[in-house]
C-alpha cells in the first residue's frame, strides 16, 4: 500500500489529476455551507446574465437561476451518481466474473452466454430500454448505467480469474484443506482485487459521462433538480445566443472526467506489476550503446568478442549482466558457452547483434568483431544488413520465437528476401529447399503450415532452416534444445553437428547442459556472474577442470548409469549481478577460498590453450 501511494505520487500527471479532483470534491462537499444563491429559484427578469455580472459570478440560465450555484450542486450530484454507478457495476460484475471464472465448466458457460447476450446490445439501447421501463429520473439513470456496465466488468474479471484459478497455488490451497468459499476469498480475491480497482478507476470517468448523457437526453435528473448533463441539455436551446450556459457545465464535465482519467491511469500504472518493473517498454531496433573506448582486437576468429559489457538499467539499479566477456570462434568451430541461469550467457549472445532489449539494456563497453568489423555501435542500416545474412540466431522456444500468424514457408522466404532481391516464387522454392535440408518430411506441404500446427521438434527445425536461409558464416544458438524432449534433442543436435561440418559454420552454442557441450562443442567457456571463469578445449575442461566452480558444477550433474546416490551440491546461491562481491564472485561459495580471493580483480589467466579466472586453480596433469 505504501509502495502504491509512493508510485502514485511519483507520477506527476496522476498527481495533477488527484489535486484537481481533490479540489473539485472539496468544493462540492462545502457547497451546502458556501454563500450561494438557491440553485432552483427562478427569476425570469434576470435570465441569460453574462458571467461576472454582480451577484452572479458565472451568470444565469434561461430561467434566471444562478449558474455557479447550479454548477456546484449539479457537480455534486453527477459525481455521486457516477461513483455509485461504478461501485455497483464493479461489485456485481466482479462477483459474477469471479464465480464464472473460478468454477468454470457449465456454470461459466451459462453465465457467459448471458453476459454475451447483454453485450450484444449497443449499450445505449439497453440503457434507453431500462429508462423507458422505469421512467425518466436520476436514480433510474444510475441503475441503467450500472446495469449496462455489469457485463463489461464480468467479462474482464472472469478472464483474470480463469488465469488465477489455474495457478498452482490454488491447487495447493485445495490440498491444504480449503473449501471453495475460502479459496475465493483468500486466494482468488486478493489477486483479482488490483484488477477490479484498475477497471473501476479507469471507468469512473466513463460512467460520469454516461449518466450526464442520459440527463442530457432528458432521461436522467428531472427539473428543477440539475446535474451537469441536464444543465447542458437545457442550455442547448440557447447555444447560439448564450453560449456561456453550455460552456460552464461542459467544461466542468471535461475537468472532472479528465482528472479522474489521469488519476485512474496513475492507479493502473502503480498497481500493474508489469508496468512497475518496466516490462511494458518497447525494445528498440538495436541495443543502446554507451561506451567510452573501443578495445584493440585480440582474437583472430571470424567472430571475436573483446571485453563485452552489457548492463540493465532499471530505475536507479544497475545490473551488470555481462562484465567483460572475450571470446573468439573460427570457421567450422563450435564454441560452447555454459552457465547457470543469470550467468549472462544469453545476454552475451544477444549483445553481439544488438538484440538485447533496450531499454533497459545498454552495452557499456567492449567490441564484437565480425571479420574485423566492429558490430557494437555500427550504424543500424549496416547492422541490419548483417543480421540473419552473415550472423544468424537460433532461439530457445520455437513456439514463441516464430511469428504465430505467418506460414512457416513465408517466414523463411522473408528471411531470404530481406537480403536478396529475388522474386516471391524463387524465395518460396528456396524455402522448401531449406526445409528439406533440415530433414523435414513433406516440405512442400509443411511450408504452408503455421507454427502452432507443428511439434516442438519440427518448429525448431524451422528455426534452424531460418538461420541457414542466407548461408551465414556464424550461427549463434541460444539454448536451442532446452525446450525439447531428450529424444528430439538428440535429433536436433546431430542435425546441427552435420550442418556445421558440411558448411564450415562457426557456431556459438549457449547451454546449461554439460552433456550437450561434451557432445557438440570443440571448445567451451564457463560463465559465472557475468564473466568467463574458465575456457579451453571441451575434453580437457571436462576431464580436468581447473576452476573450483567448473569442477563442482560438473559434480552436481547426475549422470545416467550412476545408480542411486547422494549428489554433490554447491551451497548458497550465485550473487545478484546488481550487488557483486569484491574479488572473485564465486569466493563466498568456494571451499578453497583464501582471504586474498575477496580483494581486487581476479584476471583470466591463459595457460596452454586454456584460461582460468582463479588465484588458486587446480592444474592437474593429463
Amino acid at each position: 500500500m505504501r509502495l502504491f501511494l509512493r508510485l502514485l505520487a511519483r507520477n506527476r500527471l496522476a498527481l495533477a489529476g488527484a489535486v484537481v479532483l481533490g479540489f473539485v470534491v472539496l468544493l462540492v462537499l462545502m457547497t451546502p455551507v458556501l454563500p450561494l444563491a438557491e440553485p432552483n429559484i427562478t427569476n425570469t427578469a434576470d435570465r441569460f446574465q453574462r458571467p461576472f455580472t454582480p451577484g452572479h459570478l458565472l451568470g444565469t440560465d434561461h430561467l434566471g437561476r444562478d449558474l455557479l450555484s447550479r454548477l456546484l450542486w449539479g457537480t455534486r450530484l453527477s459525481l455521486a451518481v457516477g461513483f455509485s454507478a461504478a461501485v455497483i457495476a464493479a461489485t456485481i460484475g466482479a462477483a459474477i466474473g469471479i464465480v464464472a471464472g473460478y468454477f468454470g465448466g457449465r456454470t461459466d458457460n451459462l453465465i457467459m452466454r448471458g453476459v454475451d447476450m447483454l453485450m450484444a446490445f449497443p449499450y445505449i439501447l439497453l440503457a434507453l430500454a431500462i429508462v423507458a421501463a422505469l421512467g425518466p429520473g436520476l436514480m433510474n439513470a444510475l441503475i441503467a448505467v450500472a446495469a449496462v456496465n455489469v457485463p463489461f466488468f464480468a467479462r474482464n474479471i472472469r478472464g483474470i480469474t480463469v488465469g488465477i484459478a489455474h495457478k498452482e497455488f490454488v491447487d495447493a490451497a485445495k490440498l491444504s484443506g480449503m473449501g471453495h468459499g475460502r479459496i475465493i476469498l483468500s486466494e482468488i480475491l486478493p489477486n483479482v482485487l488490483p484488477v477490479i480497482v484498475i477497471a473501476m478507476s479507469t471507468t469512473v470517468g466513463w460512467m460520469i459521462l454516461e449518466t450526464a448523457g442520459l440527463s442530457f437526453l432528458g432521461l436522467g435528473s428531472q427539473p428543477p433538480q440539475a446535474d451537469l448533463g441536464s444543465m447542458l441539455g437545457e442550455a442547448r436551446a440557447a447555444l447560439i445566443t448564450s453560449p456561456h450556459t453550455s460552456v460552464v457545465p461542459g467544461v466542468m464535465i471535461l475537468i472532472i472526467v479528465m482528472s479522474i482519467n489521469l488519476l485512474g491511469d496513475g492507479v493502473r500504472d502503480a498497481l500493474d506489476p508489469r508496468l512497475r518493473s518496466g516490462a511494458l517498454t518497447r525494445p528498440m531496433a538495436a541495443t543502446l550503446v554507451d561506451r567510452d573506448s573501443v578495445p584493440e582486437p585480440s582474437g583472430d576468429g571470424i567472430l571475436t568478442l573483446d571485453g563485452i559489457e552489457t548492463q540493465f538499467h532499471v530505475g536507479d539499479r544497475i545490473y551488470r549482466a555481462v562484465g567483460g566477456v572475450s571470446l573468439s570462434v573460427g570457421p567450422g568451430e563450435c564454441l560452447g558457452l555454459i552457465g547457470e541461469s543469470g550467468s549472462g550467457k544469453s545476454v552475451t549472445a544477444l549483445s553481439i547483434m544488438g538484440l538485447v532489449a533496450s531499454p533497459p539494456g545498454v552495452i557499456t563497453g567492449g567490441a564484437a568483431r565480425y571479420r574485423g568489423r566492429d558490430l557494437i555501435g555500427m550504424p543500424y542500416r549496416e547492422l541490419r544488413r548483417l543480421r540473419g545474412d552473415r550472423i544468424a540466431y537460433i532461439f530457445q522456444d520455437p513456439l514463441a520465437t516464430l511469428h504465430p500468424l505467418y506460414r512457416v514457408g513465408d517466414q523463411l522466404a522473408e528471411a531470404i528476401r530481406c537480403h536478396h532481391a529475388i522474386g516471391r516464387a524463387e524465395a518460396h522454392d528456396r524455402a522448401i529447399e531449406l526445409l528439406k535440408s533440415v530433414r523435414i518430411p513433406n516440405p512442400e506441404s509443411r511450408a504452408r503450415s503455421y507454427p502452432h500446427e507443428m511439434s516442438g521438434g519440427m518448429r525448431q527445425r524451422v528455426g534452424i532452416a531460418m538461420a541457414l536461409a542466407n548461408d551465414p558464416d556464424v550461427i549463434i544458438a541460444d539454448e536451442p534444445t532446452t525446450a525439447l524432449d531428450v529424444t528430439v534433442q538428440a535429433q536436433i543436435l546431430s542435425l546441427l553437428n552435420d550442418l556445421r561440418r558440411d558448411r564450415g559454420l562457426a557456431i556459438v552454442f549457449i547451454t546449461h547442459d554439460f552433456g550437450v557441450v561434451a557432445q557438440l562443442c570443440d571448445r567451451v567457456a564457463v560463465m559465472y556472474a557475468g564473466r568467463i571463469v574458465e575456457e579451453g578445449p571441451t575434453a580437457e575442461i571436462l576431464a580436468r577442470p581447473a576452476h573450483p566452480y567448473t569442477s563442482r558444477l560438473i559434480d552436481c550433474v547426475p549422470e545416467l548409469g550412476g545408480g542411486r546416490r547422494e549428489l554433490a551440491a554447491i551451497p548458497g546461491l550465485p550473487p545478484s549481478v546488481d550487488d557483486l562481491p569484491a574479488g572473485c564472485a564465486f569466493a563466498p561459495r568456494c571451499d578453497k577460498k583464501q582471504s586474498s580471493c575477496a580483494v581486487g580483480e581476479v584476471a583470466l589467466k591463459p595457460r596452454d590453450g586454456r584460461a582460468v579466472r582463479c588465484l588458486y586453480p587446480d592444474w592437474r596433469p593429463a
Binding site: Y123, A129, D397
Partner: protein
C-alpha cells in the same frame, strides 16, 4: 471457412431470440397501459378496454410475446401510434441515416485510432507519443455532445464554414457534397471518443507485441524496422485490436444518439428517445430489436475477420 461463417450465423439465432426476450421483458415492466397513453386521460373506460382488446393487450405476456415475435418474422413490426405509420418503415428510414453517420465515424476512428496507437507505441516516450497520449486523454474525457455543441459554435456560428445541423440543406441540397458538408462535424464529434479508446488500446497492444520473442526473431533475421512495426507487430497486435473494434462499433452506435440530437440528424437514436418520451412502445421495441440485430450481424463479421487473421482460431 464457409462452414465457419454458417456456424456463426446459426449461433446468432439464440442471441437474437434472447434479445427479443430481454427487450420484451423490459418493455412489459412499463407501468400503465399504452391505451391510456394513446387515447389520453380523458378516454372512457370502455374505449380504453376496446383499444386494449384491439391491440391484444388483454392476453397474457407470453402470448403477446409470441404474437409479436411471429409478426416480426413476417416483417410486421406493428404500427407506431404516435407517428401513425408502420414501425418498420420509420425504423429503416431512420436507421439508414444513422448508418451513414455512425459508419463514417467508425471508419474514421478505426483509421486514426490504429494509426495513432502504432505511431505512439513505436516512438514510446518520444514527442509524438506524448502529444498523442495527451490528445487521446482529452478525447476520451470530453462528452461528445458537448464537443458537438462547441464545434457548432466554432465552425458553424463563428466561422460559418459548415451548416449548423440537419442531414441535407432544406432548399437546393441533396447531393453528395451537401451530405458531406453536413456530415463533417457530427461524424468527427462522434468519432473522437472511439478514436481515443482505440488509440490507447492499439498502443498497449503494440507495446505488448513488440516485447515478444518473435519480434526479436524478425529483427535477428534482418527485417527492416518499418516492416517489423507495420508488418510483424501490427499484424499480431490486430488479434487483440479487432475484438475491441467490435465493441467500439457499439459505442459509436450508442454515441450517435447524442450526436443526432445535437445536430438534428434524422437518425434512429433521436427517434428512440422521442418514442421513449412518448411511450410509443412498439416503435421502441422494433427500433431496439432491429438495431441490436444489425449489431449482432456486424459482430459476426468481426469474428470472421478475426478468424481470417488468426489461424489459431479453429474454423
Amino acid at each position: 471457412m464457409g462452414s465457419y461463417i454458417l456456424k456463426r450465423l446459426l449461433s446468432a439465432i439464440p442471441v437474437l431470440l434472447g434479445i427479443t426476450i430481454i427487450v420484451f421483458a423490459i418493455m412489459a415492466m412499463i407501468p400503465g397501459d399504452p391505451a391510456t397513453a394513446i387515447l389520453g386521460s380523458y378516454a372512457t373506460p370502455e374505449n380504453v378496454e376496446k383499444l386494449n382488446r384491439d391491440l391484444g393487450l388483454d392476453k397474457p405476456a407470453a402470448a403477446r410475446y409470441f404474437i409479436w415475435l411471429g409478426n416480426m418474422l413476417t416483417g410486421d413490426f406493428g404500427q407506431s401510434f404516435a407517428l401513425n405509420r408502420p414501425v418498420i418503415h420509420e425504423v429503416l428510414e431512420r436507421f439508414s441515416a444513422t448508418l451513414v453517420l455512425a459508419g463514417t465515424a467508425f471508419v474514421l476512428c478505426c483509421f486514426f485510432g490504429i494509426l495513432a496507437g502504432v505511431v505512439s507505441a513505436s516512438r514510446q516516450y518520444g514527442l509524438a507519443d506524448k502529444a498523442i497520449t495527451f490528445a487521446v486523454l482529452l478525447g476520451i474525457s470530453i462528452p461528445s455532445f458537448f464537443l458537438g455543441m462547441m464545434m457548432i459554435l466554432l465552425f458553424a456560428v463563428s466561422l460559418k464554414w459548415l451548416p449548423v445541423s440537419g442531414m441535407y440543406a432544406i432548399y437546393g441540397g441533396g447531393d453528395l457534397w451537401d451530405l458531406l458538408k453536413h456530415l463533417a462535424m457530427p461524424a468527427t464529434a462522434l468519432a473522437v471518443v472511439a478514436t481515443g479508446v482505440i488509440a490507447r488500446l492499439s498502443r498497449s497492444a503494440m507495446l505488448e507485441v513488440l516485447r515478444q520473442d518473435f519480434i526479436r526473431t524478425a529483427r535477428a533475421k534482418g527485417v527492416s524496422e518499418h516492416r517489423v512495426i507495420w508488418g510483424h507487430a501490427l499484424r499480431a497486435a490486430m488479434v487483440s485490436i479487432i475484438p475491441v473494434l467490435g465493441i467500439q462499433a457499439g459505442f459509436v452506435l450508442s454515441g450517435a444518439v447524442y450526436i443526432e440530437i445535437v445536430f438534428q440528424w434524422p437518425g434512429v437514436g433521436r427517434m428512440l428517445v422521442d418514442a421513449i418520451l412518448k411511450r410509443d412502445i412498439l416503435l421502441v421495441q422494433g427500433g431496439v430489436v432491429l438495431v441490436a440485430a444489425c449489431y449482432v450481424i456486424f459482430n459476426i463479421m468481426v469474428d470472421v475477420a478475426q478468424s481470417l487473421l488468426d489461424p489459431r482460431i479453429k474454423t
